[in-house]
Symmetry: C2
Subunit: 303 residues, 2 copies
């Protein structure tokens, strides 16, 4: 049983009002958007990643969830498992990473818990202020909507590959994995225009699948329209486009919105496809034929 089925079967029946049956990454409660993402050493970051960047990543991936729901990140609680094997000065570095991220984003720390354990683990609960009264769920999309994505796709994977090299590649190449390029500021556009949204954490195709399933539509992605960075274009030239579209860790916002929102969204979002009657996700390659994808994305528990 996969992560999503397990949540649906065992945890969803426990959900309260605002939790939307746990179908979203975030809840609308207490007049805020709430989200909680746990980062585990060796799963969500590498043991060799600089610890100040781990701190920043933990805040970024949670801000990504909040932004995708049309809300501005404002405060967080921090749960930290800190192994005794990591030094005092590493703890100071970790906190310096939090501070830098707070200074750049205006986030405030509200409280939390620190404890010992074998592996570094960072559990963040993030609070965001919704830009408007609209709740933007995964389920609001309709046939006829276009599919838009912020930023570029695939850089999380390429950054991970750079971070894994030994000796490591230059830090700049690893940065998109270590400190994801979260689309700060797009929450207003999302609040104004999106019919459905989420952040791309499991992989573009897998996450498009979540939107398709909850909105009851089929999503057709035109692979040639998916925005890529220079590094991404280089990887595409090496025949790795399918990998970029199915890797996780991008933390961009993926939304459905009407075609007439295209002008307003331009500059922050790229139209990459459309929602039609049906189900599932089809990715059209350069030749206009559906691409063969070995996997759609990331599921922590496999299937």
């Amino acid at each position: 049983m996969g992560e999503f089925e397990r949540i649906a079967r065992f945890l969803a029946p426990l959900a309260g009002e605002g939790a939307e049956g746990l179908k979203d990454d975030a809840a609308y409660s207490y007049d805020r958007v709430l989200t909680k993402d746990v980062l585990v050493e060796g799963v969500h970051f590498l043991s060799s990643d600089p610890v100040d960047l781990v701190a920043r990543k933990a805040l970024r991936v949670n801000q990504s969830d909040v932004i995708a729901k049309g809300a501005t990140p404002e405060a967080y609680l921090l749960g930290l498992v800190w192994p005794k094997s990591r030094t005092e000065s590493a703890f100071a570095d970790f906190c310096a990473g939090l501070e830098l991220e707070q200074r750049e984003t205006g986030l405030k720390l509200l409280g939390g818990d620190t404890t010992a354990g074998d592996r570094l683990l960072v559990s963040v609960t993030m609070f965001g202020m919704p830009v408007s009264d609209r709740r933007i769920l995964r389920s609001g999309g309709q046939a006829g909507d276009l599919v838009y994505v912020s930023g570029t796709i695939g850089d999380g994977l390429l950054g991970l590959e750079a971070a894994k090299l030994s000796p490591p590649a230059d830090d700049a190449a690893a940065m998109p994995y270590r400190v994801p390029r979260v689309p700060f500021g797009v929450e207003r556009l999302i609040a104004d225009h999106a019919t459905a949204s989420l952040d791309v954490s499991d992989g573009l195709v897998a996450d498009a699948g979540h939107l398709a399933e909850e909105s009851g539509v089929q999503i057709i992605i035109d692979a040639s329209q998916v925005p890529l960075s220079d590094a991404g274009r280089k990887a595409r030239a090496q025949g790795r486009l399918a990998e970029l579209l199915t890797a996780g860790d991008d933390y961009q916002s993926l939304i459905l919105a009407p075609a007439d929102a295209a002008k307003a969204l331009r500059g922050s979002f790229t139209a990459i496809g459309r929602a039609v009657e049906g189900e599932g996700v089809i990715v059209l390659g350069a030749n206009g034929e559906p691409m063969e994808l070995k996997r759609s994305g990331w599921d922590h528990f496999g299937r």
Copy 2:
């Protein structure tokens, strides 16, 4: 550097409004009391503990923080690291534990995150509705206040010892460790009468020390007045009183309140000492002399 010093030096400067400089286990924000406690397998519960009881404990220890701040627990976010080595049916058991606790307490699940990892870890963020407008911090106590504690002390330790036996002792003996006897309902008394409060998680003497330090008083505890269960009285007869007073995991509310609150608090709280001018904690034994204590309580990072 200990856990408390580390928080004070590196994390407190990051704290926002309502976080009270991270000196409390909970924050007053968003018109709620917020708290976040992380439970790690092998640290906060045993690998052999039934997993439905681990779920209940995770909710209990967080409710304990909320109640001690004069608030009624109402909802939570769940962050779960679930090892692949644990079975599907164990996952169902875990969720059944959550459900039982929700049914007994009226708690609702708002959302969260599940991921894989080596060891079971449960990170809960709990929201409580304050009974009144008063913020009850660790720092509000005054010389002249009495010291009151709910429930009985030392049962967490005795329960842990029972849970560790092989073959295990009867489940009833281990229960106070596995599902702490949180004093549900005392939040109203705390809101009405306490000048300072916290929950007893690090050990009665250590936690009294936190109240003394933040309130700027000395706390004198009369050991003979500390409420004990039948099991606790038996351990006292074996000369283990000092252990009971310094072990963690009791999750009772420890408060300072005026002497004239004694009547109102009776039945839910026991007066065990008083706050005077000075600093630190003195525990008076049966002979009226200060007891020698080898340790005051639990600090995850040692000193």
